[in-house]
Amino acid sequence: MNMNTATDMVEVPLYRAAHGRTGDKGDRSNISVIAWHPELYPLLVEQLTPESVAARFRHRAPARVQRFLLPRLHAMNFVLDAVLDGGVNDALNLDAHGKALSFLLLDMPIRVPSALAPLLAGP
């Protein structure tokens, strides 16, 4: 048995373990993260914390990051306050809704035990 935990883990982008969609209301963005497989969900709960997600969005200086868990859906919902530069009517961004933000989160690296690697999506 390999006791070296480092080699038991693979680092992959989040999109291999989960999918999601961004929504907006005013200056608030919500991003769902939905595990591709129930066995991957606990890893997401452990690694995608409000703190790690706030760090991922540090350039947008969120006023608050909340995480809501939906274990029956193997999903979580992140709500990021004041990350849309005022929202759809105020932002200067081409994507004033922040619709692409789910892909900023889905590109975040996560660590997955090698044993669970067959459950990951995509190449």
């Binding site: 350039h59 809501f68 530069d85």
Partner: protein, 474 residues
């Protein structure tokens, strides 16, 4: 507005057949060929289903700024101000809906439901259909001078000096249900909450009381799944290699089957592309939701914390939603106030070939120095243009990677048109005064609309429906 609708749900041992609700638009500007397959499918289901089965078609065409734009059009033309695509969306299916008893509920009335109703009546005449019974739902529009004091009471100093374009309460399903109870075949609304377009028909059909929180909560989430049209059927979902969607070019629009308890099964129009899967339903279920245990609508506080989503065995493109709960509705309506917000100026120029990125970055630096007094957003399209923040923190952290095809975009806003115009002129001047080889300048100057939100007590916003007679529809 009628109150105290005390009809109780039927107590028959045999469950009534589910109510069918198809959605043919998820926003203003959605595909106008969406309704045809939805209506064809509803007609086929009604033909093969039990005699008591009923079907509705809904169109959701309002977003946060759509109403303000509609008010601006109505200022120019008193007969305008409803959904500009109303004719294109409805004409292909109107006669068939009327012939097959499919009732229509929509917020495509926008800022002028009565004019929309007149347009629909005219369309029916032109199509040779019998005059439909059309109702309008009103009370949401608070933009008139008689409502100014009420808004001022709540918004206070924030309202000083603002030029208000629109003010609308997000009203609920009760007046829709009442209009249907009164015999309306078509209900034209302005700013009702999106899920209320589904809750209203369900309340009327099943006779639910307006404080039947669990059933209203379930129907609300059915409406939430429907309200963005194709988004629950594989639209806005595809990601090649990870989330493949068959036939995206012909993606179907959704049909919900809602049972007497409010639980629903989501499917899509027959002979269309797309897919309905647990993944598409989960993404749409959480779309624009904040706290999943408290999704606030004017009808109910819906709660999906314990919701479950299950692909139906042996049935393609059918997913059931269960476990939704509801809690007492909020005491206040949400109100959005849109006001004139100065000017947005944008300019773009492209650089290509060796050191293109360095030349684009130099052009941005020139603009920053020339446009003193404007807070400039800078994008390097091809390197970073969407994920970055307006203040440019992410761009500052993004090193020059030597891209050879880059489009520079700058944007700024200013209360005065003349100040905003400076940006357009400076981008244009890069042709002769900027870095080498810049081409393809485009500039745009757009009036802005800004939004304020507040809450108003329900009793301060009387809502009503009116079944329009022949005179009102002439």
């Amino acid at each position: 507005m009628t109150t105290g609708r005390l009809k109780s749900a039927p107590m028959n041992a045999i469950a009534p057949p589910p109510l069918l609700i198809g959605c043919a638009a998820g926003f203003s500007g959605d595909r106008t060929d969406a309704a045809g397959p939805v209506v064809d499918t509803l007609i086929a289901r009604l033909a093969s289903g039990p005699a008591q089965q009923r079907a509705f078609l809904i169109f959701e065409t309002l977003a946060e700024r759509t109403l303000a734009l509609a008010q601006l059009r109505r200022r120019d033309n008193p007969e305008a101000g409803y959904e500009p695509l109303l004719d294109a969306m409805l004409r292909p299916v109107l006669a068939r809906c009327l012939a097959h008893g499919i009732r229509i509920v929509s917020n495509f009335g926008a800022a002028n439901p009565r004019a929309a109703a007149r347009h629909i009546a005219r369309m029916a005449r032109e199509l040779g259909a019998a005059a439909p019974r059309i109702a309008v739902v009103e009370g949401d529009d608070l933009s008139g001078p008689e409502h100014r004091a009420l808004l001022h009471e709540t918004l206070g100093a924030q309202m000083e000096g603002l030029r208000i374009v629109s003010a609308n309460a997000y009203i609920g399903a009760e007046p829709i249900a009442a209009a249907l109870d009164a015999g309306a075949q078509i209900v034209v609304c302005g700013r009702v909450a999106d899920p209320s377009l589904t809750v209203g028909p369900a309340m009327s059909h099943f006779g639910w009381h307006p404080d039947d929180w669990h059933r209203l909560g379930r129907a609300t989430m059915a409406g939430h799944l429907l309200e963005c049209g194709a988004q629950v059927c594989g639209g806005y979902f595809a990601d090649p290699g990870y989330k493949d969607v068959p036939g995206l070019e012909a993606v179907g629009f959704p049909i919900a089957e809602i049972d007497a308890e409010g639980n629903c099964t989501i499917g899509k129009a027959d002979a269309t592309g797309g897919l309905v899967s647990e993944a598409t339903v989960k993404e749409q279920l959480l779309y624009e939701v904040h706290d999943p245990s408290a999704y606030l609508t004017p009808d109910v506080v819906a709660d999906i914390a314990e919701a479950e989503v299950k692909q139906q065995q042996g049935a393609e493109d059918r997913v059931a939603l269960s476990g939704v709960r509801g809690h007492a509705r909020p005491s206040h309506y949400k109100v959005n106030v849109c006001h004139e917000g100065g000017w947005l100026a944008e300019g773009e120029i492209s650089y290509a070939g060796p050191r293109a990125e360095a030349r684009a970055r130099l052009a941005a630096e020139v603009l920053r120095q020339r446009l003193d007094g404007l807070a400039l957003r800078v994008d390097l399209i091809g390197a970073l243009s969407i994920l970055g923040d307006d203040a440019g923190r992410m761009l500052a952290d993004t090193p020059d990677t030597g891209l050879r095809d880059v489009r520079l975009r700058v944007a700024a806003t200013h209360a005065e048109r003349g100040q905003a115009e400076r940006l357009a002129r400076e981008v244009m001047a890069l042709y002769t005064c900027g870095p080498a080889g810049g081409g393809g300048v485009r500039t745009a100057l757009t009036p802005r609309l800004n939004t304020l939100s507040c809450l108003l007590p329900r009793e301060a916003v009387p809502v009503r429906f009116e079944l329009l007679g022949a005179e009102a529809l002439a």
